[in-house]
């Protein structure tokens, strides 16, 4: 016989009944468009060692190699820290000198169309060269990188295994190959499945019981995300980004009288880059992935636009926005909820409107965003 107090205890301890919101058919279609995850992976045709196991091993070695930098003190991994979801947790980056932008995670970079907050690079190996040569970041040069790969016996052996020959005499060719190995390694950094993915796949197979295990707050937040929030217009598809650029009302002044022009400057830099996909360093003779570079055009509205980031693992990559000015996901949701339309560029897309979400709606949207992240390691 169960005593009254034990019965009361059991009632208190029993989990709340799982519930599934009555999503409409249109909502379900939108939810399903955010999967499946992981996405199909294909080698990068512009990089002849993309997907090559020996190149991935060399790239990993180089990613953690401080001797690549000008004084032997800075690694790629100094800012892209594995234990911090491959970013640094700082508002803005700093190596040899402070920078104006937040360090993005390198998770899921293989799926990017453009690289960097301004998209100044159109491929991952060019993006890997940029910080090597930047005097504020790794302060290196082609000669230094080439000498290391020729003279360090272990690295030289790894290079030969990856590229099938010894490092050539041309320093710049070795620099580009090192960057291609770095890219091959970074391409392997794909985030795992999340509570949202389990929910999405349960909906896809019509398993209501499994879908109902997704927290109700996250379901409500998801409904805002794909509905009145219009978030999924830009944070589109399985990787939660359309891969393009937007002005979301974040101030782009970086110092008194100085601005970060974002995508506008990025396109100029892209067109001038000696490592873009139209260059001789592209290993794909038919330039099959270079259509974007040929056809992209700088427009007035690009001023102050920054790349739409993926939201996968977003709970692990604070602080947020291109300049890291928002510390928490609550801050981000409040930014959009009360967005200052006067801050948007005059040609700004009229997709963003103040939503004036109440406290529970903000919590719900944050609960949804948190469900896009893998569980933290204990």
């Amino acid at each position: 016989m169960i005593s009254r107090s034990l019965l009361a205890l059991l009632c208190v301890a029993a989990p709340a009944a799982a519930e599934l919101l009555p999503f409409t058919d249109a909502e379900v279609r939108r939810i399903l468009s955010h999967g499946p995850w992981p996405m199909a992976w294909m080698p990068d045709p512009s990089n002849r060692v993309s997907g090559n196991a020996a190149a991935i091993a060399l790239g990993r070695e180089l990613f953690f190699e401080p001797r690549l930098s000008g004084d032997g003190s800075v690694r790629c991994a100094s800012c892209h820290i594995e234990a911090r979801a491959w970013q640094d947790g700082r508002a803005t980056a700093a190596a040899f000198a402070p920078l104006e932008r937040n360090t993005p995670s390198v998770h899921n970079v293989r799926f990017n169309r453009w690289f960097g907050w301004d998209g100044a690079q159109d491929n991952l190996w060019a993006q890997s060269i940029r910080p090597l040569l930047d005097p504020r970041e790794m302060r290196s040069n082609a000669t230094r990188v080439a000498r290391l790969l020729r003279e360090d016996a272990a690295l030289r052996a790894r290079y030969e295994a990856a590229f099938g020959a010894a490092p050539p005499d041309d320093d710049e060719a070795v620099l580009v190959d090192a960057a291609k190995a770095l890219a091959a390694f970074q391409e392997t950094l794909v985030t795992g499945r999340t509570p949202f993915d389990e929910f999405r796949d349960a909906l896809a197979r019509g398993d209501r019981d499994a879908a109902a295990r997704y927290p109700l707050a996250a379901q409500r937040g998801l409904r805002i995300f794909i509905g009145k929030g219009n978030c999924s217009v830009c944070h589109f598809g399985p990787n939660f980004t359309n891969g393009e650029f937007a002005d979301v009302g974040v101030p782009f002044f970086v110092a008194r009288g100085a601005v970060d022009s974002g995508r506008h400057g990025g396109i100029r830099a892209l067109k001038a880059s000696r490592y873009n996909l139209l260059s001789r360093w592209n290993d794909d003779p038919i330039r099959s992935t270079a259509a974007k570079t040929r056809h992209v055009v700088a427009q007035h509205r690009n001023f102050g636009e920054f790349r739409v980031p993926s939201l996968r693992n977003v709970a692990l990559t604070a602080p947020y926005m291109h300049n890291g000015r928002l510390a928490t996901l609550h801050d981000v949701v409040r930014h959009y909820s009360e967005i200052d339309l006067d801050r948007l560029h005059t040609d700004g897309e009229r997709i963003l409107q103040p939503l004036h979400l109440d406290a529970r709606e903000i919590d719900d949207l944050v609960a949804f965003l948190e469900s896009l992240s893998e569980a933290r390691a204990p």
Partner: protein, 133 residues
């Protein structure tokens, strides 16, 4: 005999003036404007958000069936007051037939294809609404 000759001449004139765009493959749409008829299809057939695609376009003038000499292609989202982030390049394939490359729709929603046909007279703009899910 005179009547027969007149009929033949009329039939020949009709044939010469016939305007049927010579598009290869099934068109996505055919646009009938005051001065032109234009047909086009996309390649690949299904447009996806964030994926480059091409257009195959054919057009002719209604008055005499001749091809317009020049085509320009663009697209925009009227409600959002913005266009694409990419400028399509247009390459002639044959008189009255073109291939436009480099188009990319970077968000779902209501887009509109814009075709500017240029010739001897003023440019005529043809448009076609397209909803991308």
């Amino acid at each position: 005999m005179k009547r027969l000759l007149a009929g033949a001449l009329l039939a020949a004139a009709d044939l010469c003036g016939a305007c049927e765009p010579a598009l290869e493959g099934a068109p996505l749409a055919r646009i009938d404007s005051p001065r032109h008829v234009l047909a086009f299809r996309t390649e690949p057939a299904r447009i996806a958000v964030g994926e480059h695609f091409a257009l195959l376009v054919a057009a002719c003038r209604k008055d005499d069936g001749r091809p317009p000499p020049e085509l320009r292609v663009d697209a925009h989202m009227p409600a959002h007051r913005h266009g694409m982030n990419y400028a399509a390049s247009v390459r002639p394939l044959a008189p009255g037939r073109w291939r436009a490359e480099g188009l990319l729709f970077h968000m779902p929603g209501d887009w509109e294809f814009l075709f500017d046909l240029r010739g001897d007279g003023p440019t005529e703009r043809l448009s076609y609404p397209y909803r991308l899910e």
